[in-house]
């Protein structure tokens, strides 16, 4: 039990401690950002695939097939056409495949795009391994230029039995300004 009616000095000490909590919680708010990324990396629950090159596949599980679908979205201010060449394929887990996406800059200016991948169901993202992907880098296209962009991937044999279809979606963002800014 504290001595009641205590001196202002004691008020200052307690207030200072509480202020420390406030500063700590302000920091915690920002710490939530990396914590969120780490948590999602480990659990893979937000559908983000790894942006790192995956190791080569070691074995093929021929006992089952998984359907892999490809969809694309182009953000409003992006003057590109962007489509998957293959919309869906059947793969055995562990089997390496190559697919392509077609991009065409319809504008009269060179533009830089960045494709952001997302896998649905989200829990499948950890098992979508990319050996090579155009999405690892940004993609510049000159005015009217057209390009085929490649993706080499395999589905990890560890993929839970309950997942039979994986949908990989790419959203294409216009990052010309940022890319130019970085020089």
């Amino acid at each position: 039990m504290n001595a009641p009616q205590s001196q202002p000095a004691q008020h200052g000490r307690l207030a200072a401690r509480l202020l420390l909590v406030v500063v700590g919680m302000f920091g915690f708010g920002f710490a939530l950002v990396p914590l969120y990324d780490v948590f999602c990396d480990i659990t893979g629950i937000n559908g983000k695939t790894s942006q790192e090159v995956a190791a080569l596949s070691t074995g093929v599980d021929e006992s089952r097939t998984v359907t892999v679908e490809f969809v694309t979205y182009v953000r409003g201010d992006m003057p590109w056409e962007f489509k998957p060449v293959t919309e869906r394929i059947q793969v055995h887990p562990g089997e390496t495949h190559q697919v392509a996406f077609l991009a065409r800059n319809r504008s009269g200016e060179s533009t830089v795009g960045q494709a952001i991948p997302s896998v649905s169901p989200g829990t499948g993202a950890l098992y979508f391994s990319k050996i090579e992907c155009f999405c690892f880098n940004n993609q510049p296209l000159a005015a009217g230029e057209e390009a085929e962009m490649g993706l080499v991937f395999y589905v990890d044999p560890e993929l839970p039995e309950s997942i039979r279809t994986l949908t990989l979606s790419y959203t294409l963002y216009n990052i010309t300004e940022q890319a130019m800014g970085r020089g």
Binding site: P4, P8, F30, C40
Partner: protein, 539 residues
């Protein structure tokens, strides 16, 4: 101690004398400087209460614009962008400008008197925490008159609405939220230091009035989550103006993360707005039942457990973002768990009334309305907590009905009850019970006409925050709007009553309610500017 607290209306007449001028040098100030420079907890409490009532009327006027537009289907009065500004600023003003400052005002007035302290522990900071608030809201309301209008992304300011798609007023919005946060944090620190350090001899923890307990716990919630709110608005600011990508997928960020951080603040925030209400009701129900509060200790523990659980339920606002099932179940069960301590409280209030000699003065009427209607809001909250059902209810008028039941008939009604309960202590006059009854019955009827049919609109699929709706919703929306206008007008009765009570009326004794308990009733009415300069001894 012959000095009386002078209310704003009596300001010019207010000549205050004191024996200890060296201590309280601010006493000779008169006019506006008295209010600007005051460090007295009662005067600052009065400032908070008037400020929050002014905000209540301004935010209410915005709600009237919303209801007028929704009176008929189609777009008639305001354009959609302005409608969005109205829903946004209405929410921000009611949460940060009306409900939170009203409770801070009650805390300022009552906590020192309830624990036998002469003032708040940090009186100068107290002055600051009030006086930065008008600037925050001047920025926010002023932004509505800017080119391009004020914030229009909802009070929850979800990214990318508030980052990529917002107007230039976003910077003003961010700074005003920063200031509001600083004000709340200073207020909370003051409350904690006061309660921990300034209790009268013998006022042990388990003798604290529940209003003091609930505010102590609320203050800890405030210092835990207001900094997180400050952090998230800062991230919005840097995303929008300084090229960071916290919430921008193109730069490697994640817009869903915004919702996680926001609701990590946002869910404890709703308990910040309701825990002090529980404290108010726990003071009023025993006073008018003329019985001791049933289950005091369980009330304290229930409050603490609600506060603890409030940190584990934030994602129930985000069931439709595509979370894995395991996470949805976790947040669903934690949310349902909150109804246990809340139920303990409701049953304790009912048990307090059981076989009590109940009388129905205005504070008790509002407290009873609180218990019934807050429970309705709690039950619709329980419905929303069920993940599969939430997919249907999400972002519909059902949600609007739910949080208005807990915030209007919950928090606001408890503030009204508190005002009636303590008005005699504040002003030295009894308020007019006739006017109070008019206020109560007009409010209780209109508030239910206003919010109850919203449940049906939501179940039928009417989305929230949209200025137009499908034709089949027209009749119910008309009824809702009429209820809204009636509820808005009813609050003017309250304003008239308070002004009348300040100006005069039957003299109030030190303890106007015969069943009331607590140190605040041992000082004369109106409470002198300085009370408990020598601490009372609590047995």
């Amino acid at each position: 101690m012959t000095t009386a607290l002078k209310t704003p209306q009596q300001d010019q007449l207010g000549h205050v004398e004191t024996q200890s001028d060296t201590h309280h040098h601010d006493h000779h100030l008169t006019g506006w400087r008295r209010w600007l420079l005051t460090t007295n907890h009662k005067e600052i409490g009065t400032l908070y209460l008037w400020f929050s009532f002014a905000m209540f009327l301004i935010g209410g006027a915005m709600a009237m614009v919303i209801r007028a537009e929704l009176f008929q289907p189609g777009l008639q009065l305001v354009d959609p962008h302005f409608f969005n500004q109205m829903t946004t600023v209405h929410g921000l003003i009611m949460v940060f400008g009306a409900v939170m400052p009203a409770f801070t005002g009650l805390a300022n007035w009552m906590i020192p008197m309830m624990i036998g302290a002469p003032d708040m522990a940090l009186p100068r900071m107290n002055n600051w925490s009030f006086w930065i608030l008008p600037f925050a809201f001047a920025l926010l309301i002023g932004s509505l008159f800017m080119e391009g209008g004020g914030p229009a992304f909802g009070w929850t300011f979800y990214a990318p609405l508030s980052t990529t798609f917002s107007g230039d007023s976003t910077a003003l919005f961010v700074f005003s939220v920063h200031i509001m946060g600083i004000s709340s944090i200073m207020g909370a620190i003051n409350v904690i230091v006061t309660i921990v350090n300034l209790r009268a001899p013998g006022m042990t923890w388990m003798k604290l009035p529940l209003f003091v307990w609930t505010w102590l716990i609320t203050a800890f919630l405030l210092i835990a989550v207001m900094p997180v709110l400050a952090g998230v608005v800062t991230m919005v600011l840097t995303d929008k103006y300084f090229g960071t990508s916290f919430f921008d997928a193109a730069g490697g960020g994640d817009p869903v993360m915004f919702q996680h951080i926001f609701w990590f603040f946002g869910h404890p925030e709703v308990y910040i707005m309701i825990l002090p209400a529980f404290g108010v009701i726990s003071a009023i129900v025993p006073a008018f039942s003329r019985k001791k509060l049933f289950g005091y200790a369980s009330m304290v523990y229930a409050t603490a457990s609600i506060a603890g659980l409030s940190f584990l339920v934030w994602a129930h606002h985000m069931f439709t973002t595509g979370m894995p099932v395991a996470a949805e179940l976790f947040f669903m069960y934690c949310t349902m768990l909150i109804s246990v301590p809340t139920g303990v409280k409701v049953f304790n209030w009912v048990a307090t009334m059981w076989r009590g000699a109940i009388s129905f003065e205005a504070p008790m009427l509002f407290a009873l309305a609180f218990i019934v209607l807050f429970t309705i809001g709690g039950l619709s909250g329980l419905m929303l907590s069920l993940t599969p059902i939430d997919f249907q209810y999400h972002d519909t008028y059902f949600v609007v009905a739910h949080f208005h039941y807990v915030l209007v008939t919950g928090a606001v009604f408890s503030i009204m009850a508190a005002a009636y309960y303590w008005l005699p202590k504040w002003t030295g006059h009894m308020y007019s019970e006739t006017l109070a009854r008019w206020h109560f019955w007009c409010s209780i009827i209109s508030v239910n006409v206003l919010f109850f049919p919203m449940h049906f609109l939501g179940l039928a699929g009417m989305p929230r925050r949209i200025p137009d709706y499908a034709l089949q919703f027209a009749d119910i929306n008309q009824v809702v709007s009429i209820g809204g206008f009636a509820f808005g007008l009813s609050q003017l009765i309250f304003l008239a009553l308070v002004i009348k009570c300040i100006r005069g009326g039957q003299k109030a004794p030190a303890k106007p309610w015969d069943g009331a308990e607590g140190l605040e009733w041992t000082v004369p009415s109106p409470a002198p500017l300085h009370t408990f300069d020598t601490p009372p001894v609590v047995k």
